[in-house]
């Protein structure tokens, strides 16, 4: 049966909880950077030393990579490959699909190890899964609620975006 993604709404308090998980993971796994990316390629949170990184592109390419390997998985009869690891000369990339909806990305170098990252990601992944279950429910409520900032936008608001 086809499945249409629902709109995701991230409130301040939930963002802070997601960020806290990312920051703890970055610390505990001795990671350079930790990112939470939605499967559609939107960056939701980041922690660690991410200066100079093009995080928007990182998010989009992460989602593309997970989507492509997900397609491969289906061809060979798997539902998904939930864990991806790319080894570089200096830096490594570890990606995990959490709660079928988001991707947890960890960048680490020789100060950490794959074993440690996998161990810490497992714990952080379950915490994020719980958080996103709640976020998903709130998103659905927000979508049907009159408090949405988009319920009251006017044609004029939209036209102003394209004024020049």
């Amino acid at each position: 049966m086809p499945f249409v993604d629902t709109q995701l709404v991230l409130f301040d308090e939930d963002y802070r909880k997601v960020l806290a998980v990312c920051e703890r993971l970055a610390r505990d796994a001795h990671a350079k950077g930790v990112f939470v990316v939605d499967k559609n390629g939107q960056l939701m949170a980041e922690a660690g030393d991410v200066r100079g990184l093009d995080t928007t592109s990182l998010a989009s390419l992460t989602a593309g990579s997970i989507a492509a390997t997900g397609g491969l998985a289906k061809i060979i009869g798997e539902e998904e490959f939930p864990i991806h690891f790319h080894q570089g000369q200096r830096d490594n990339l570890h990606m995990t699909v959490v709660a079928k909806r988001i991707i947890l990305v960890v960048i680490f170098d020789e100060r950490s190890s794959l074993g440690l990252v996998r161990l810490r990601v497992k714990k952080a992944g379950s915490e994020l899964a719980r958080l996103f279950e709640e976020i998903q429910k709130k998103s659905e409520r927000a979508r049907n609620s009159a408090t949405s900032p988009f319920a009251e936008i006017t044609d004029d608001d939209i036209d102003k975006l394209f004024a020049d």
């Binding site: 249409v4 991230l10 559609n40 390629g41 592109s57 989507a67 988009f150 009251e152 936008i153 939209i158």
Partner: protein, 196 residues
């Protein structure tokens, strides 16, 4: 689908440019990239073959300005147009908020346009979307070429539903921003509908 972030007061939407091979999807994004203020755009990414044919997708993040205190960001994607990349096209449509169909006006590409439009309908359907309900605009590209099909014939064949439509020549930028504005407007109007 769109992502509303209250923490950063941002709304992110995804727009996909669809159409047959060599119709000018990448050229549309290249023109937008070239003509947009550097503060409002991110890096454009093209996953292409050595002969510069799109292999997986092009990606361009764009900021449009604020609406009710929220920064609106559009992520523009193209699909690979060549017929055999269908699996990739399906993946890129996931989570789409708005679609631009770029048609090639050359009369000998009419069948390719029709095939691609049909493919769009099927692939959207596989994801649970209906082309009639998704914000959607059509662009008749390459209007400057001598072998361009008459506009009314293209309208009759490709746009019987009367979606917003634009004539374009993407290589020189004609019609490119008009198309983008129309699809962005459609997406925002749809957000309002969903919120009500």
């Amino acid at each position: 689908m769109s992502f509303i972030n209250y923490a950063s007061r941002e709304i992110n939407c995804k727009v996909v440019y669809y159409g047959p091979g060599l119709c000018g999807k990448t050229t549309n994004l290249q023109h937008i990239y070239a003509k947009t203020n550097p503060d409002l755009k991110g890096k454009m990414i093209s996953l292409a073959t050595e002969t510069e044919r799109t292999l997986f997708f092009d990606f361009l993040p764009l900021a449009l300005g604020q609406i009710r205190g929220f920064k609106t960001r559009f992520h523009l994607y193209t699909v690979p147009g060549q017929v055999f990349y269908d699996a990739s096209r399906k993946l890129i449509l996931k989570g789409v908020d708005g679609v631009v169909f770029v048609a090639d006006s050359q009369i000998e590409r009419m069948e390719a346009n029709l095939e691609s439009l049909d493919n769009l309908r099927v692939n959207l359907g596989d994801q649970g979307y209906d082309l009639g309900k998704v914000p959607y605009v059509i662009q008749y590209n390459k209007r400057d070429l001598p072998n361009a099909a008459p506009l009314d014939e293209m309208q009759r064949l490709l746009n019987p539903g009367g979606a917003p439509e634009f004539e374009a020549c993407a290589t020189v930028g004609k019609g490119v921003f008009e198309t983008l504005k129309a699809v962005a407007k459609g997406v925002l109007t749809d957000l309002r509908k969903m919120a009500r």
